[in-house]
């Protein structure tokens, strides 16, 4: 698919607004292929917003996103998405395998039934995250970590080249954390590009090859050893930029 010359994800001068209030300004980067990239920043920095904007779930005010040089609409099959766990109702009447099979719907056609192969793939992906024994468990009976693994398995069924994961480590148990790390290494060994929204500064350095520091604007992006410095972290976490916040408020009120 992607030749070495074209970035898996190119974000060009992207500005994103939530209810007309800009939350991300002039984001601009090219991702390297086959790397584990940690997206780090304080609460309200716009980490999830950036992921959603790349996935086309939010309208952008200006700029564009390219997946291997093409607009997202042409390349959806190359991108797998793991939303935040809290975004769905876990009391919904489906079991773990049902949820994982949903990963195949995108390529099945609206009115098609999942084929035997789709089901086999779903089962294999559940197995990959250590959840094969829970396939027929109703999702509300799973622990938070197990629910997270179900979401990861669903993304794996998409067999994408790029994965965007929104806080997969948030509030999970040790077993799930270990399973996710194994999975990330496995994806890297297959030359997949993975972007992970991450909250824990203690582990960020250890988990990721590249770090993207974000706080309403792109503070720094590069190899972990270069970017993950006390000075850069201070800039990222050193409070909001007052003028930028004020400007955002003004724009929102005008609209």
């Amino acid at each position: 698919m992607g030749t070495a010359a074209v970035a898996p994800i190119e974000v060009h001068d992207l500005t994103v607004a939530y209810r007309k209030k800009p939350v991300l300004w002039d984001i601009d980067f090219d991702l390297p292929e086959g790397a584990l990239i940690g997206l780090v920043g304080p609460n309200g920095a716009g980490k999830s917003t950036l992921i959603k904007a790349i996935m086309g779930l939010l309208p952008v005010l200006s700029g564009y996103v390219r997946i291997y040089g093409q607009p997202l609409e042409k390349q959806r099959e190359l991108v797998g998405y793991v939303p935040q766990r809290e975004t769905v109702d876990w009391d919904f009447p489906v079991d773990a395998l049902d949820v994982v099979t949903m990963g195949r719907y995108g390529r099945m056609g609206l009115f098609a039934r999942p084929s035997k192969r789709d089901k086999e793939i779903a089962m294999a992906c559940l197995d990959k995250v250590g959840m094969a024994d829970y396939a027929t468990r109703q999702i509300s009976q799973l622990s938070g970590g197990q629910q997270q693994r179900v979401f990861l398995a669903r993304a794996l069924t998409q067999d994408a080249s790029i994965y965007l994961m929104d806080e997969p480590f948030a509030g999970v148990d040790a077993a799930t954390e270990a399973a996710i790390i194994t999975l990330l290494k496995d994806l890297k060994s297959k030359q997949k590009t993975v972007v992970v929204v991450h909250h824990d500064l203690n582990t960020a350095e250890e988990y990721f090859d590249y770090i993207m520091l974000l706080n309403m604007r792109l503070v720094k992006f590069g190899p972990t050893a270069e970017v993950f410095t006390p000075e850069n972290l201070r800039i990222t976490y050193g409070g909001k930029l007052q003028l930028l916040s004020q400007a955002a408020e003004k724009i929102a009120r005008q609209g």
Binding site: M102, R107, L110
Partner: protein
């Protein structure tokens, strides 16, 4: 009374052609409302159904004024259009103002309904003789459905059910996780529009039989009842459709018995009864089953407290074959005598204790169980004082609760973490009897 049975037999024997039409119509209307209601319920848009049905009323009136006579297709189109308008109004209000959705629903519902009543009153006053049917849209009248009406309403219901079955997986996906669906290239917006349109349609075709005021009950209550019985969406939708159909059928029967009574309230009574039975008696989710589980858990707690108390008494006397009276066992707990006696009987039956003239002694099994409970209690106390830095006099209560729910795996983890301790924070020995790796 004789007339009641005569009419009932005539209704359920389906001998009368007219009755057949009404029955078929009521079942189809109920089934489509129930099935689609399941999705509205799961998407937490139950109140939208209520706003939709109320918002349909002005459309009925306007359609009548425009056409000039009571034409069902025109009335349906009018009702659907103004129902949709109501839904759009709710969206617009929440999007462009700071008013929250609950208030927006309330505003739209009352404004549209009020407008509808004004228009219907105007039609009535203007003396249009043929308006005779319009007031039925308020509370519904199933028995008044003619064969032509049913053919039209029934066809719409069949179409709705067919689309729902064919697109089932897509509707399931967007209802569970619309963000993921969009990211995977599924046309979420289009599907949601289709689903909302179908809900509007299901509400609209039920209006004549059930009425705008109570139509929401046929949409939501069967779904809420069905959810109690199953954790599988396909089964839930099927059950919801069945409950809706049953409510429709019985509503039509009541309407047939007493044609002057409005049907809507009866449908509500019937679905509410189904809901009541479901929420009480459903396995797992039902109230009674949950109470039973709770009682079961409570019984276990009482039993474990008794074994622990007997074990501690033995510990004091350094001999576990002593006999103790109930007042010694009881100590300071807030268990009723009934609970205590039930637990003692149970333990006696299972040979954990021997009872003799109101005094009790642990059996060999009882000693092991008592030691197990006390060990967990003291391990947890030690864990809390060591790792949470809680003072020793703060941990007894927590341990009293947690000892009953601790799993063997957690116990093993605690043992390892605390390095197989010998004493708890109060310098009391942690019992060894039956301990893993101890003889």
């Amino acid at each position: 009374m004789g007339e009641f049975w005569d009419l009932t037999i005539r209704f359920f024997s389906l001998a009368d052609g007219n009755v057949r039409w009404v029955v078929a119509g009521a079942i189809l209307l109920g089934a489509s409302a129930g099935a689609l209601g399941a999705f509205a319920y799961l998407q937490r848009r139950s109140l939208l159904g209520d706003a939709l049905s109320h918002a349909a009323l002005p459309g009925v009136g306007v359609a009548f004024l425009v056409v000039g006579y009571k034409s069902l297709p025109a009335l349906l189109i009018g009702a659907a259009a103004s129902g949709w308008l109501g839904a759009l109004a709710v969206n617009a209000i929440t999007k462009y103002s700071k008013i929250k959705q609950d208030a927006a629903l309330g505003i739209v519902l009352t404004v549209f309904f009020g407008l509808g009543v004004v228009i219907l009153t105007h039609i009535q006053k203007s003396g249009a003789g043929t308006q005779a049917g319009l007031d039925k849209f308020l509370f519904g009248q199933a028995a008044a459905l003619g064969s032509g009406d049913v053919a039209l309403l029934g066809s719409v219901a069949v179409i709705l059910l067919t689309i729902l079955v064919v697109g089932f997986r897509s509707f399931k996906l967007i209802s569970f996780d619309s963000g993921f669906a969009t990211s995977a290239g599924v046309p979420t917006g289009l599907l949601q529009f289709l689903l909302t349109t179908m809900i509007v349609a299901a509400v609209t075709i039920g209006l004549q039989a059930v009425g705008v005021v109570l139509m929401a009950a046929l949409l939501i209550t069967p779904a809420a009842a069905a959810r109690q019985w199953t954790d599988r969406l396909s089964l839930m939708v099927l059950l919801s459709a069945l409950f809706g159909a049953l409510a429709g059928l019985l509503g039509a029967w009541v309407s047939f018995l007493a044609p002057r009574l409005p049907t809507g309230p009866w449908v509500v009574v019937i679905v509410s009864f189904i809901f009541l039975v479901s929420i009480l008696f459903a396995p797992k989710r039902g109230i009674i089953s949950r109470l039973r589980q709770h009682r079961h858990g409570r019984g276990k707690i009482v039993r474990e407290h008794i074994l622990k108390a007997l074990y501690k008494l033995g510990e004091q006397d350094e001999n576990w074959s002593g006999r103790y009276g109930i007042s010694q066992i009881e100590q300071a707990w807030s268990f009723s005598h009934r609970e205590l006696n039930a637990a003692l009987r149970y333990l006696d039956r299972r040979d954990f204790i021997q009872r003799d003239n109101g005094s009790f002694m642990l059996t060999e099994d009882g000693v092991v169980e008592g030691a197990r409970v006390l060990r967990r209690h003291r391990l947890w106390e030690l864990y809390l004082t060591t790792y949470l830095d809680l003072p020793g006099d703060h941990v007894h209560r927590d341990a009293d609760e947690f000892e009953h729910v601790m799993t063997p795996e957690m116990e093993a983890q605690l043992e390892e973490l605390l390095d197989r301790p010998e004493y708890d924070p109060h310098h009391q020995a942690i019992p060894n009897i039956g301990r893993e790796g101890t003889q």
